[in-house]
Symmetry: C2
Subunit: 238 residues, 2 copies
């Protein structure tokens, strides 16, 4: 059940079976329905949360009621690794689809970081990759138009979900409504719809219900200049 995490962290550091067990032995798991808050802005959560299945998101709500999604959390992603250091959440976290979460007690996390350098390094690495993704989203928002921005997101999710082991070679289940995609891209649901249709018309994607298929991945990548370098998927050399 923890395999998405292990698959992901294994990219950042060599983990042994013992490391794996240490991470998982003390965790409780919890199931949460779709569109539920997991952590609210201002919280000082005790446990560290980890997505095992489903999609969650980081978000902020503006004074006018609009919501900006700042990150999509897929299986293997941590929700709040940083809160132990920063003290409180400066944003909220909610599920998008139904999720199973792991809750790691703070003592476990403390023990891991202080006594198990390999795991600590892997967690550190995971945080930095999250930051790199955030940077790329900023670039997308600033420089790409809606169609390329959406295509870029679809490419990114393909890569990330493959690492987590929950995507096929050329498609995956995408539990986001067009409304949610709008909150990710910073555009209105209406314009998401028109953008989706443009990508469909160009035969770059097949999006039906909650399933996305990409007939020609290389063509979609070329369309949005997708360069997976920022995901740091290749095993570190040093």
């Amino acid at each position: 059940m923890f395999s998405p995490l292990i698959r992901k962290l294994g990219r950042g550091a060599d983990l042994t079976q013992a490391d794996h067990d240490r991470l998982t032995s003390l965790a409780r798991t919890r199931c949460v329905g779709a569109r539920q808050d997991i952590i609210e802005q201002g919280d000082r959560p005790e446990d560290v949360h980890l997505v095992l299945s489903g999609f969650a998101c980081r978000y902020k709500i503006m004074r006018n009621g609009k919501r900006q999604i700042m990150a999509l959390l897929v299986p293997g992603d941590f929700c709040d690794l940083h809160v132990a250091i920063l003290g409180h959440m400066d944003h909220g976290i909610a599920t998008v689809s139904p999720c199973t979460l792991a809750e790691l007690p703070p003592t476990t996390v403390l023990d891991l970081t202080e006594n198990h350098p390999r795991i600590a390094r892997a967690l550190w690495w995971a945080t930095l990759v999250d930051e790199a993704i955030l940077r790329e989203w900023l670039v997308s928002m600033g420089q790409r138009e809606a169609d390329q921005q959406l295509a870029h997101l679809f490419c990114e999710l393909l890569m990330r979900l493959r690492v987590a082991g929950v995507a096929d070679a050329d498609g995956y289940d995408l539990p986001l409504a067009q409304h949610d995609l709008g909150e990710v891209l910073g555009i209105t649901p209406v314009h998401v719809n028109r953008t989706v249709q443009a990508l469909r018309a160009a035969e770059l994607i097949v999006l039906r219900g909650r399933r996305l298929d990409i007939p020609d991945v290389e063509r979609l990548k070329a369309f949005c200049d997708f360069d997976p370098d920022y995901l740091h998927l290749v095993q570190r050399i040093a």
Copy 2:
């Protein structure tokens, strides 16, 4: 000379004089002119770089030649703390104004993180604040219109530069041309100009040459719904 760093890190953890000396004793300093690359995408820098004076920026260049600035680095900010873990730079770093930089040899950083938990924690904290700023920039780009977005940037810089000790209570030197501001906000220089003029007309800012003054800080904050929570300026309670 290292005081901006100490002032900044002191917010994240209690540092002693000994910690301070340890950080600074082995560093070389280096002066770089305006608009020079410090680190290029793909580099695997040996030393960790730190801004002591001046403004630098993280950026990515798009295939069409446009540049998106993903972070402004002011005195006290690290350029590449993450590269030791991630292995290579997925973006470039360049100066905006002339800068003095400190270069910390990797052995120093390694020693600090492994043998000096207080400093390690402070560095960790600084990285997480950078990430929080990145999230807020994403929100700005997705949800705020150009005038509020620019105002928000000006408010953020006021707070950050005050922490670094290089701003007055209601103004600071801003070495960015309108062209640069456009690369930060993801808009064209022409539109930056119109936006600046709108803020001027509303008497929210006084921007002349490379100096920004804010006649009524509270009014500017109210104008763009600025909430400094994400900067994590208040001393951690625990």
